[in-house]
Symmetry: C2
């Protein structure tokens, strides 16, 4: 009775965990939630009021599928300050980046089409691809991003329709691709004439080091679709994100979007546009970045104090996640329920591995807890790990 | 390079016409736009402000895929005032009703699955079904809705996964199903164990006559998914709509929605919830209904004054559209460009016929023009028709 695709897709374990974990007293490092206490609530209220005064009914009327023009202009200018490469035809507004993944899947994936991802990778991307019955192959990463030798092999052998990567502060590993790897990937996209999806929700949230050019910029917009969002830098509940890419390709996404939801919510688009117009954006991003860096550093210190010697972790240069690796024989899923009893939560890493590996890993979010909660939560977690003999 | 489905789908002719038709001086009866001058802009501004004060950051944070609980409670109570049948588990919030069509397609349609619709039917539904490569068969309607003799034949022969109907003030024909036909369809849904999608965007906008029970109510929620929206009764740019149905079926839609856009915009949900809480809704719907009835009546009078004797039309008891039929040999698409030159626009009816018929029909929206614009626009249109010897 249901479609075949529904047998391949499962509910997001993370969203299910989040539901379980919302009880009082729980310190959850499980979600990917930005810190709500930083949301510019007053400025959003002022922007909402201003756009209803300024544009009146147009701020809540139907609008074009592509997204409102002034917001697309600002995004084009953010991505290409010199204004040489991009126009509004290279930008569409999406209902969160998740929708861009849905639309790209619609436009490129047939039943059984090959898609390559990192291993591990973002769970929501896997869900989007699975809903279109893609044949997903996860290509292992080294410490500098997706392994290009293996990637080349799979590009030849699998002839994928899409390659999905997150070069900045990857979800779940926190990994960032260095410049040479980026150049290599931009070149591979051309050589194999395949579309790379560059998902960059956290790029603006860099704690240290120099900002690196996107694959999209390095490839001069060819064969790369760049996704980003205001969910992590303003507020996610507005659901305003965007895709940038080749104008002809975006026209296909627009056709798919017509049949999917007609358009992204007009009001949220005008609110974000107003917020950007008021020049509040970069200052706010700086505040968020500063706060998240403090939280990352606090979690690092807590790891050192409370985690067993067998645990290892990275130091993400931005974004929202730590990636922790335990001894090979440990199954973090089995530990989760014990942790929940101690009122602390994380996401078992294996959820992010299309190939089913990663049993001994976990993802910890550091942006949605205060400094004392981070210390207390990691202390609880360390106690469970040590108690389990990890 | 693109997926197969993209060759089946075309851009919405209506949205393309709307773009063309936005030049100054144009009187357009083409869109399906509600009257923006009626939007409760001040009340939306007040609700936006109130929810940010009341809920703070939670009003713009991530939320559950199903939609916020208080809004689902209110919708369940609207649909089932006695509270016997429905709970929040029977309601999910969608990003416009268009998204409900996308999610239902995802959950039920495999490549080549049969879907039955009315003939003519809503273009956006066709787009949604085509994006999942459904095999759509349009079942002719008589003056009382879809022809049940033919429908029974197709139910047996095609074994459809979905049957799509709009029993109130149908888009595009304005037609309303009478009670007996509704009962018959509710029974057929059970007998053939097939899912009927009952799309009801305009049900609240009834100009005269008694409100009739939904197929959903008549079928006691079994095998019918009921779709409605606040787009036509509050404002479409908030993109807040809902699907009501069997709890197990809705769980599948929720899984599909996770991979599609994670959730509907939180802010819009809270705004609609606040608006409903303030008890403003029914009074506003009454105002919209009264205004649209005046506009319908004005257009009727203008038809009588200006249209050629060969034209015939219905008298819709609610909703937003007139359906006009011209002599068999007329092709309304060919007339559209002449009309555009005279600064008046409509949608050629054949766009709505999956079987390619309906060349001599046109859809006219009466809600998005003032009374003088209606008279002037129909005068212009009548002149073109008569000039063309129609």
């Amino acid at each position: 009775m249901y479609s075949e695709r529904m047998s391949a897709v499962k509910s997001s374990a993370i969203r299910d965990i989040l539901k379980l974990m919302s009880r009082p007293g729980m310190i959850s490092f499980a979600g990917g939630l930005p810190a709500p206490e930083l949301f510019p609530v007053r400025e959003i209220a002022a922007a909402a009021d201003a756009v209803l005064k300024k544009y009146g009914a147009a701020a809540v009327q139907y609008s074009v599928t592509e997204g409102i023009l002034p917001l697309r202009e600002k995004i084009a200018a953010m991505l290409d300050p010199a204004g040489n490469q991009l126009s509004t035809e290279n930008v569409i507004i999406t209902q969160g980046s998740q929708q861009a993944l849905d639309l790209l899947s619609k436009v490129f994936i047939d039943n059984g089409s090959a898609v390559l991802t990192e291993n591990p990778t973002y769970l929501g991307a896997l869900q989007a691809f699975q809903l279109f019955q893609a044949n997903v192959t996860a290509v292992p990463s080294d410490n500098n991003g997706i392994d290009t030798t293996l990637l080349k092999k799979h590009l030849k052998q699998d002839k994928p329709r899409l390659v999905y990567v997150m070069p900045n502060f990857q979800n779940p590993t926190g990994l960032t691709y260095q410049l040479e790897r980026r150049k290599e990937l931009a070149k591979l996209a051309q050589e194999h004439d395949v579309i790379f999806i560059e998902d960059d929700p956290y790029g603006g949230l860099r704690f240290e080091g120099e900002r690196l050019p996107s694959l999209f910029a390095l490839a001069e917009g060819k064969n790369v679709v760049y996704l980003s969002s205001f969910s992590k830098t303003i507020a996610p509940g507005l659901r305003i994100a965007y895709a940038a890419g080749d104008a002809e390709l975006l026209k296909k996404l627009v056709i798919a979007k017509q049949g999917t939801d007609l358009q992204t919510n007009t009001f949220g688009q005008y609110i974000v546009n107003e917020y950007l117009e008021n020049g509040l954006y970069q200052k706010h991003v700086d505040l968020v970045t500063r706060t998240y860096r403090e939280r990352r550093d606090a979690m690092l210190r807590s790891f050192e104090r409370h985690f067993p010697a067998s645990a290892s972790w990275n130091k993400p240069a931005g974004g929202m996640f730590f990636w922790v690796r335990l001894a090979d024989e440990v199954d973090t899923s089995a530990l989760l329920m014990q942790c929940a009893e101690q009122n602390v939560a994380f996401v078992p890493g294996k959820e992010f591995f299309p190939d089913g590996s990663g049993r001994n890993t976990m993802r910890l979010n550091f942006t949605n807890a205060t400094l004392p909660e981070i210390e207390e939560g990691i202390k609880r977690l360390g106690k469970v790990l040590k108690g389990a003999g990890v």
